[in-house]
């Protein structure tokens, strides 16, 4: 009897812990929706998303976030262009080519890279990369979308490398053997068989990397220059959605229009990362089959 009660209690505790994550996400989403919708009702969704001007404190205030959406997308796209090819090739090197000693060292360093706080990456980028970009490209300022993309690529790389590496390593040895026995070279085997079989996992890795980049705040705030205008090239300062929320939340009046506008930005971000993660999950599920 007593054992049965203990069993039931433990079961309930475990269930509670399991359900907690869902509760938290739902609460956060609900809160974002509540504040966001209150804002949309007053200002309108179209003029919010497609509006080019962001003057939250002038009168009448302007809350157009198009420049920030463009800024976020530009920095993210730039980071992907850098991080995806390097990340996948690094994963291939680690799982297929590197001798065992090199592989272990590389793996632990890449995992260590994931542990560097983003503010440190931002700081290092600000004092080293930003002046370098300015002198090399002869720009008025080195605080550009380009600099932000480079630093964010550093942050996406560990995710992309570790998850792709798992996917590549789980390609059965027999596939490679089958291809090699048919006279394929090592490179042909990697390109046509290994990459193909690991592709769903690699796409998931890229998506998770993108998710990390889109949501990143501290490093981009320190490096991208935070100018709320639509950039005409990657060598201009941009402002991302995340940086806007972080920079302005302290200056708002609780419950005011500006305050709610920031929540509405949060809602847009949430939807973007949700979609990215959803796609990643889709592919991860596929690679397990």
């Amino acid at each position: 009897m007593k054992r049965k009660i203990i069993d039931t209690i433990i079961e309930k505790i475990i269930f509670f812990c399991g359900i907690l994550a869902i509760v938290f996400v739902t609460l956060i989403f609900g809160f974002l929706l509540k504040e966001g919708f209150a804002f949309f009702k007053e200002y309108g969704v179209i003029s919010f998303i497609a509006g080019k001007l962001w003057y939250p404190t002038s009168d009448p205030a302007q809350f157009g976030i198009l420049s920030m959406i463009v800024g976020s997308l530009l920095v993210t796209a730039g980071a992907c262009v850098i991080a995806v090819p390097i990340g996948i090739m690094a994963a291939l090197y680690i799982s297929e080519i590197a001798p065992k000693g090199v592989r272990d060292v590389l793996k632990s360093f890449i995992e260590l890279m994931a542990a560097v706080p983003s503010v440190v990456i931002g700081f290092v980028g600000m004092v080293t990369l930003v002046p370098l970009v300015r002198t090399i490209f002869d720009l008025p300022t080195g605080l550009t979308a380009f600099s932000g993309s480079i630093m964010l690529a550093f942050m996406a790389m560990p995710t992309i490398v570790t998850i792709s590496e798992d996917a590549i390593r789980s390609v059965p040895w027999s596939y490679k053997e089958g291809a090699l026995a048919l006279g394929a070279t090592k490179w042909q085997t990697i390109r046509r068989i290994v990459l193909k079989a690991a592709m769903p996992g690699i796409i998931a890795a890229v998506m998770l990397g993108i998710g990390r980049v889109v949501g990143e705040t501290m490093a981009v705030m320190m490096i991208t220059g935070n100018a709320a205008h639509i950039p005409s090239s990657i060598f201009e300062p941009v402002r991302t959605m995340t940086a806007t929320i972080a920079a302005e939340m302290g200056e708002t009046v609780r419950g005011g229009m500006h305050y709610r506008a920031l929540f509405a930005i949060g809602l847009v971000l949430f939807i973007i990362t949700f979609i990215v993660n959803f796609i990643a999950d889709l592919f991860l599920g596929k690679s397990k089959k």
Binding site: P172, S174, Y175, E177, G178, A179, L180, A181, L182, G183, A184, T185, Q188, R192, I193, K196, A197
Partner: protein
């Protein structure tokens, strides 16, 4: 005429000898079957013939193997594997369609390029592997969706498509039911018209059914090699007799 000639071959895994000073030959257009209990070195021998063993870093070897008087250890590995195809115990279709599975290797090796050439190669290979009638209407479905026996014959077709000289079979029927086994054996016997075949098998009866000659390996050594008919009727060695009559192994 000898297709393959092995002289004083010894193989090691991590310094431990698994195959000891082996001298053996494979005659052109014969089926040489190799029997023996586990750890007798038969699979190591087979995987040395197309240098698949070289992929294992703890593997090393001494001695020479000649393919048509050419030392295979001096040959380009990819070229060797084009001439010496291999079929594994587990059928492993590559993760693509039936059609692509077969044209994969010929395309890589530059043997075919035009669509009609590829169609011809696929049809011929599947016919030679006696699989054509079963799959001709679904060449574009995945190779993984076939049954085990069909997958194994697809793998045979895949090897035939690169037109090798020698085919190595590594226990090709160990995962198959008796009917599929009979079909694979049937195609092996047809194949020896054109190819030279080395078959490693754990199934002594299979060796007696398809082998022209049979070699018995034990503990890394060749105990006896003879015409299959002779060996199964009157083996010279006591150990051979014990093994084929099922007294051990």
């Amino acid at each position: 005429m000898d297709k393959i000639k092995v002289e004083n071959l010894s193989c090691f895994y991590g310094g431990q000898c698994v195959l000891e000073s082996l001298d053996i030959n494979v005659v052109k257009n014969e089926i040489l079957t190799i029997i023996g209990p586990a750890n007798s070195g038969k699979t190591t021998f087979l995987r040395t013939l197309n240098r698949m063993s070289d992929l294992n870093t703890s593997y090393s070897r001494k001695g020479t193997v000649y393919l048509d008087d050419e030392n295979i250890f001096n040959m380009n590995m990819e070229k060797l594997r084009k001439r010496v195809g291999m079929l594994f115990a587990m059928p492993i279709p590559l993760p693509m369609t039936i059609y692509e599975n077969i044209v994969y290797a010929p395309k890589r090796l530059g043997l075919v390029s035009k669509k009609n050439e590829m169609d011809a190669v696929v049809e011929q290979a599947l016919k030679d592997a006696s699989l054509w009638d079963e799959v001709k209407d679904r060449l574009n479905s995945s190779g993984m969706k076939l049954s085990g026996g069909q997958q194994q014959r697809l793998c045979i077709a895949r090897i035939l498509a690169i037109n090798p000289e020698v085919i190595l079979f590594d226990e090709p029927c160990s995962g198959l039911d008796p009917i599929s086994t009979a079909k694979v054996e049937e195609s092996m016997i047809e194949l020896k018209e054109k190819y030279t075949i080395v078959l490693v098998t754990n199934n002594v009866k299979q060796a007696s059914r398809v082998g022209d000659r049979t070699a018995f390996f034990l503990m890394g050594k060749l105990v006896e090699i003879d015409k299959t008919g002779t060996m199964f009727v009157s083996p010279k060695q006591k150990q051979t007799e014990d093994y084929i009559t099922g007294r051990f192994g």
